[in-house]
C-alpha cells in the first residue's frame, strides 16, 4: 500500500509538472527523466512489486486515477490549455476503449475509428444547431446514430474475414471523409460550428465563478468526459470478466474452434462492433461540443490510425493500458512543439517498432486467471 501511494503521488506530481511547464527544455528534461525512471524501475524489479501490490488492492488504480484527474483539475482550474489537453486525453481514452472492445476482444480491427468519432461529432452539430433536443440527450442520440451506421457496415464485415474485413472499414473511413468534403449542407471542407453545451438552461461556455474563484469553462466538459470514461471503463472491464468476454476471446483466438463449441460468432461480433461504435460516437459528440467546431480534416484516415496505435501502444485488449497510451499520444506532441509537426511520422515509427519488438504493447494483457491468486500453469 505504501508503494502504491508513493507511486501515485510521484506520478501525479510528474504529470502536473509536465502539464504545467511551458518551457521546451523543461518538458524535454521531464520526458527523459520519465523514460530513465521507468527503465531503472524495470531493472530494479519495481514494476513487478507494483504489479503485486495492485493485485492485493485491485481497486486502488481506479480510485487513484479518478482522484488524480480531480486533483489535477483543481490545480489547473483556471488554465484552459492544460484542461483542454486533459479532457482530450479522457475523450480519446473513451474512443479507444470502444475500439478495444472491437479489436482487443473479438478481433475486428476498425480502421474507421475517426469516422465513427466524426459521425458522433457531426450528429451533435446538426442536432444542436437545428433542434431543441436537450444536449445531454444529444450525446446519447449521437452515439445511437454512430452505432446504427456501424450496424449497416457490420454486414459486409461479418461476411468477410481478415484482410477483406479490414478493407471494408478502410473504405468506409475514406468514403466518410469524402462525403463530408463534398456535402454542402454539412459545411463542406470548412466544417460547421456547434453551439456550446447547454445543461439545464446553463450555457457552459460562459465561464463560472464559485466563491470568488474563476473556473474555466472546460471544467464541466472535463467532468462529463470523466463520467463517460468511468462508465465506459466499467462496461469494458465487466464485459471482459464476464462469460461474454470469454466468448469474445474465443471468437478472436479461433473462430472455428469457437463455432464447434457452439459460440455464436456473428452474434458477438455484432455486439462488440456496435457497442464499440456507440462509445466512439458518444465521445465524438462530446469532443465536438467541447471544441465547438467540426471539420472533415479532424477525421482523416491518419487519425483512425492514431486511434488504433493507442490501442496497440497500450497493449491490445488491456483497458488499463489505453489511458497512459492516450496520454502519451495526446500530450507529448502538444507539449514538445518541435514534435508537433512530426507527430504522425513519429507515431508511425513508434508503432512499427512496437509491433516488431514488443508486439504486446506497454501493458500487455495478462492471461485470464480462472482461479484468482494462483499463477497460470499451476505454479504457486
Amino acid at each position: 500500500m505504501k508503494l502504491l501511494i508513493t507511486t501515485f503521488v510521484l506520478g501525479l506530481l510528474y504529470s502536473m509538472l509536465l502539464l504545467g511547464s511551458e518551457n521546451q527544455a523543461e518538458v524535454g528534461g521531464l520526458v527523459v527523466l520519465g523514460f530513465i525512471v521507468s527503465l531503472v524501475g524495470k531493472k530494479m524489479g519495481l514494476m513487478d512489486r507494483l504489479a503485486a501490490a495492485v493485485r492485493v488492492h485491485p481497486q486502488f488504480p481506479a480510485y487513484a486515477s479518478v482522484a488524480g484527474v480531480l486533483i489535477t483539475m483543481a490545480v489547473f482550474h483556471n488554465s484552459h490549455f492544460a484542461l483542454l489537453m486533459l479532457a482530450t486525453v479522457l475523450i480519446y481514452s473513451v474512443v479507444c476503449l470502444g475500439l478495444n472492445i472491437q479489436f482487443g476482444y473479438v478481433g475486428i480491427v476498425n480502421f474507421a475509428g475517426a469516422a465513427f468519432f466524426g459521425i458522433g461529432s457531426y450528429t451533435a452539430a446538426v442536432l444542436a444547431t437545428h433542434t431543441e433536443v436537450p444536449h445531454l440527450v444529444i450525446l446519447l442520440l449521437a452515439a445511437c446514430v454512430s452505432a446504427l451506421i456501424g450496424s449497416i457496415l457490420i454486414y459486409p464485415v461479418l461476411r468477410t474475414r481478415g484482410h477483406y474485413a479490414a478493407l471494408v472499414t478502410i473504405a468506409f473511413g475514406i468514403l466518410f471523409r469524402n462525403f463530408l468534403e463534398v456535402n454542402d449542407t454539412l459545411g463542406g471542407p470548412q466544417g460547421m460550428k456547434i453551439p456550446a453545451l447547454n445543461l439545464f438552461g446553463w450555457n457552459l461556455s460562459n465561464g463560472i465563478e464559485i466563491a470568488g474563484y474563476e473556473i474555466s469553462f472546460y471544467i464541466p466538459y472535463l467532468l462529463i468526459a470523466l463520467i463517460l470514461l468511468i462508465l465506459s471503463f466499467k462496461i469494458t472491464r465487466n464485459l471482459e470478466r464476464s462469460w461474454i468476454g470469454l466468448s469474445m476471446d474465443m471468437v478472436r483466438t479461433d473462430e472455428i474452434a469457437a463455432s464447434t463449441f457452439g459460440v455464436n460468432i456473428a452474434n458477438w461480433k455484432i455486439v462488440a462492433f456496435t457497442l464499440g461504435n456507440f462509445i466512439a460516437g458518444m465521445a465524438g459528440a462530446l469532443y465536438g461540443m467541447m471544441t465547438a467546431y467540426v471539420a472533415p480534416n479532424n477525421f482523416t484516415f491518419a487519425d483512425s490510425l492514431i486511434m488504433v496505435s493507442i490501442v496497440i501502444l497500450g497493449g491490445i485488449g488491456n483497458p488499463w493500458g489505453i489511458i497512459p497510451a492516450a496520454a502519451i499520444v495526446v500530450i507529448l506532441p502538444e507539449k514538445l512543439q518541435f514534435i508537433q509537426e512530426y507527430r504522425f511520422l513519429l507515431y508511425a515509427i513508434v508503432v512499427i517498432l512496437i509491433l516488431l519488438f514488443r508486439p504486446d504493447g506497454l501493458l500487455p494483457r495478462r492471461i485470464r486467471e480462472y482461479f484468482p491468486g494462483k499463477k497460470a500453469g499451476g505454479e504457486k
Binding site: H163, Y164, A166, L167, A171, L175, S309, A348, I352
Partner: protein
C-alpha cells in the same frame, strides 16, 4: 450525351482503369506469394513518382531529348521503388511472417504513413502539389469536342503492354514458375530447391516497380504529383484487388477496370439521375458499391479456391 463526350469519358475511364489495375496487380502478387497485405504499396507509388520528379530536375539540363529524359526518369524511379520494396520485404515483411496477419497489415499501414509524412516534411516544399513535367508529345486527332491526344494513347498502350508483360512473366518464365510455386505451397517449393527468400524479394521488387510505374503514369497524365496521392490510389488498388479476388491476377485487372468504371459512371450518372447530387460524389459512390460487393461476394468476384485449414 453526345458521342464525343462519351469518348472522352471512355478514354478517361480506361486510363484510370489501367493505373488501378497495375496497382492492384502489385497487391495480388504480394498476397499470392506470402499471404500478406503490403499496405504501403500506394505510398511506394508516391515515392516512385517523386523519385522520377527528382531525377527529372537533376537531369533536365544534361539531356535535351524528352525521350532520353523520360527513359532516365523511368529507370531511376523504378529502381528506387524496387530497392525500397526489397528493403521493406527483407526488414518488415519477412520478420513478421509468423506474427498474426493483422500485424503485417498494421506495420505496412504505419510504414505508408511514415513514407507519406517523410515526403511531406523533408521533400522541399513537399506539402504542396508539384507540377510534373510534360514529357510526352501532346499533338492529337480531334473528333468534334473530343481530342485523342498522343500522350494519353502512349500511356494507355504502355499500361496495357506492362500488364501483359507481367502476365507473360508469371505464366511463361522460370522466375514466374518459381513465384507460382512459392505462392502455391512455400514449404514444398523450398524442398524443391527454390530460394524462398530470393523469390519473395524479387516479387516485392517487381510489385514495387509496377507501383512506381503507375505513379509515373498518373503524374504524366495529370501533370501533377502530391504527397498524399498514394493513399487514395493505394486504397483503390487494394479495393480493386480485393473485389477481384485477392491473389488472382485476372481478378486484379477486372477489379481495377471495374473501379474506374464505377467512378466514371458515378461522375456521369449521379448528376443526371439526382439533380442535387454533384459528380464530386463519385468516390463515395464507388466505395459504397465496393462495400456492397464485399457483402455479396465476400471473397471477391474471382475467388481463390481454398478450404479452411483446421
Amino acid at each position: 450525351m453526345s458521342f464525343d463526350i462519351f469518348l472522352q469519358y471512355l478514354l478517361n475511364g480506361l486510363m484510370l482503369g489501367v493505373i488501378y489495375a497495375i496497382v492492384a496487380v502489385g497487391f495480388t502478387l504480394y498476397f499470392g506469394v506470402l499471404d500478406v497485405i503490403k499496405f504501403s504499396h500506394g505510398d511506394i507509388l508516391m515515392v516512385g513518382a517523386f523519385a522520377g520528379l527528382t531525377a527529372y530536375i537533376g537531369i533536365a539540363g544534361t539531356f535535351d531529348s524528352p525521350w532520353l529524359q523520360l527513359l532516365v526518369l523511368v529507370l531511376i524511379s523504378l529502381s528506387v521503388a524496387a530497392f525500397l520494396g526489397a528493403v521493406i520485404a527483407r526488414y518488415l515483411i519477412l520478420p513478421l511472417q509468423k506474427a498474426p496477419p493483422i500485424n503485417t497489415l498494421l506495420v505496412t499501414l504505419m510504414l505508408g504513413l511514415a513514407l507519406r509524412e517523410a515526403v511531406r516534411l523533408f521533400y522541399p516544399n513537399g506539402s504542396n502539389p508539384k507540377p510534373f513535367p510534360r514529357l510526352l508529345p501532346t499533338d492529337g486527332i480531334s473528333l468534334g469536342e473530343f481530342t485523342l491526344r498522343s500522350d494519353s494513347l502512349i500511356l494507355l498502350l504502355t499500361g496495357i503492354i506492362c500488364i501483359v508483360a507481367v502476365q507473360r512473366l508469371i505464366t511463361r518464365s522460370k522466375i514466374g514458375l518459381a513465384i507460382r510455386a512459392v505462392a502455391q505451397d512455400s514449404e514444398t517449393a523450398r524442398i524443391m530447391g527454390i530460394n524462398f527468400r530470393q523469390i519473395v524479394l524479387i516479387t516485392f521488387m517487381l510489385g514495387s516497380a509496377l507501383a512506381a510505374l503507375a505513379g509515373l503514369m498518373n503524374g504524366l497524365y495529370y501533370n501533377e504529383v502530391n504527397f498524399s496521392m498514394g493513399l487514395l490510389l493505394g486504397v483503390i488498388g487494394f479495393s480493386a484487388a480485393v473485389v477481384g479476388g485477392l491473389g488472382n491476377f485476372y481478378g486484379a485487372i477486372v477489379g481495377g477496370f471495374l473501379f474506374a468504371a464505377l467512378q466514371t459512371l458515378g461522375a456521369v450518372m449521379l448528376p443526371a439521375i439526382f439533380p442535387d447530387v454533384p459528380s464530386a460524389y463519385k468516390d463515395v459512390f464507388a466505395f459504397t458499391v465496393v462495400i456492397i460487393i464485399m457483402g455479396l461476394k465476400p471473397t471477391g468476384l474471382i475467388s481463390e479456391k481454398s478450404s479452411e485449414r483446421v
